[in-house]
Amino acid sequence: MKNSDSDQKVKLTDQPLFRIGMIIAIVLVLFIGLQQWFIPKSFGKTGHYRSDNIQEWTEHELQYAAGSDACLTCHSNVKNIFLSGSHEQLNCETCHGPAVKHPNNPMDSKPSIESSREFCGSCHQTLTGRPDTVITQIDLGTHMGFANCSDCHQPHNPGFKFGGAD
């Protein structure tokens, strides 16, 4: 009788079970709080990574335009000869470098122009490993001395300028 009486006098907050419960609750709240704090928002949505990062990569800045079509609209004089020549399969920016900003701002952002013999030779120079079934090769050292390639070949339609055979 007496025992149960004193039992009831022990305050709720002094009961060992309650204390352990409180400690567990605090640890749990801390853990969940820290987890929320440290794990980025979109982590784990689609896998063990931050899925927002996929979107971030799609927003990376462009340097090259979508293709030659983006250039031919304005450069109709180039277009007239380019599409019937043997450089037709080349992209404008393969020779002129990245130019995505140029169409919106043609005067301030000009693509590069290279026209040295070495420039043409980077594709046409005879070279070990370079398949002659794929590209016509010449020897820069012997092909027409030191004259500029564009003296005799129009880069946008490179068949011999004065030939007239085709």
Binding site: P40, F43, T46, G47, H48, Y49, R50, N53, I54, W57, T58, E59, H60, E61, L62, Q63, Y64, A66, G67, Q89, L90, N91, E93, T94, G97, P98, S122, C123, L127, T128, G129, R130, P131, T133, V134, I135
Partner: protein, 255 residues
């Protein structure tokens, strides 16, 4: 009452466990006979992913792809790090194999010294294989590198701590530490371009069509056409990485 519930619970659990063990054992001694009955092996890649084909018969080693890649992905040109690069293989009369890639091939290749002794020679462009079973993503301790649902392996620059485990894990040497951002970097198949319907910078810059990019499983995709009609090969099949890049004309000396 409580005891009854517990007993029932344990007895059910016991039955399940016993059943599992028996089934597992039987399965072990009677391997899947159905799989052996069908001799066809499915080699196709997962539909809905991007695919890439490199035609080594066509590559002329001009280096335009390397140049375009560096410009498009803003990797410093003067540093010896490359998201894509071109190697030249030369085999001579004594069967010596020489592999060279001066500055990744960005400025092309010099003529070899002993041209008359070369029996075969060709160029092999390399890039990230976007493996379906990628070893690099598995070793990342912070979940900074992963495969997107359309099959491209990316690096989260915000999360990457630069530990370089993934660089070591890649059997193709396709990863490097970005000299500016100090995080792991690699080819993304120009994710910012392909997600807008454009092709990659290297494919666009190639003058001879030695690089082909497109979707897998779409009938008029140029990649799908090659994969279904041509004899293709992958790099290091023994690594079990299941690359999404296929090669035409891959020689056995290529590593």
């Amino acid at each position: 009452m409580a005891k009854m519930v517990r007993r029932r619970f344990f007895s059910l659990g016991g039955k399940l466990l016993a059943g599992g063990i028996v089934a597992g054992t039987i399965g072990k001694y009677f391997p899947d006979t159905v799989a052996h009955a069908a001799p066809t092996v499915r080699t196709g890649k997962t539909e809905g992913k991007w695919g890439f084909v490199v035609d080594t018969y066509k590559c002329i080693g001009c280096g335009r792809c390397v140049k375009a890649c560096k410009a498009e992905s803003q990797v410093p040109v003067d540093q010896e790090v490359y998201r894509t690069w071109v190697e030249r293989y030369t085999v001579d009369y004594d069967k010596n194999v020489k592999i060279e890639s001066p500055r990744g091939g960005i400025n092309g290749f010099p003529e070899v010294e002993n041209r008359e002794r070369i029996t075969k020679s060709f160029f092999v462009p390399k890039l990230c294989n976007q493996c379906e079973n990628a070893p690099c993503t598995k070793v990342c301790p912070v979940g900074a590198t992963y495969t997107t649902p359309d099959g491209v392996v990316l690096v989260d620059r915000e999360r990457c701590v630069g530990c370089s485990y993934c660089i070591q894990a890649c059997p193709y040497g396709a990863r490097f530490k970005h000299p500016v951002f100090k995080v792991a970097d690699k080819c993304t198949w120009c994710y910012h371009r392909i997600s807008k319907g454009m092709t990659t910078a290297c494919v666009q810059a190639c003058p001879v069509g030695a690089r082909v990019f497109g979707e897998i499983g779409v009938p008029d995709s140029p990649v799908d056409k090659i994969l279904s009609e041509e004899r293709v090969n992958i790099l290091k099949p023994e690594a079990g990485t299941m690359p999404l890049v296929d090669y035409l004309g891959l020689d056995k000396v290529v590593v």
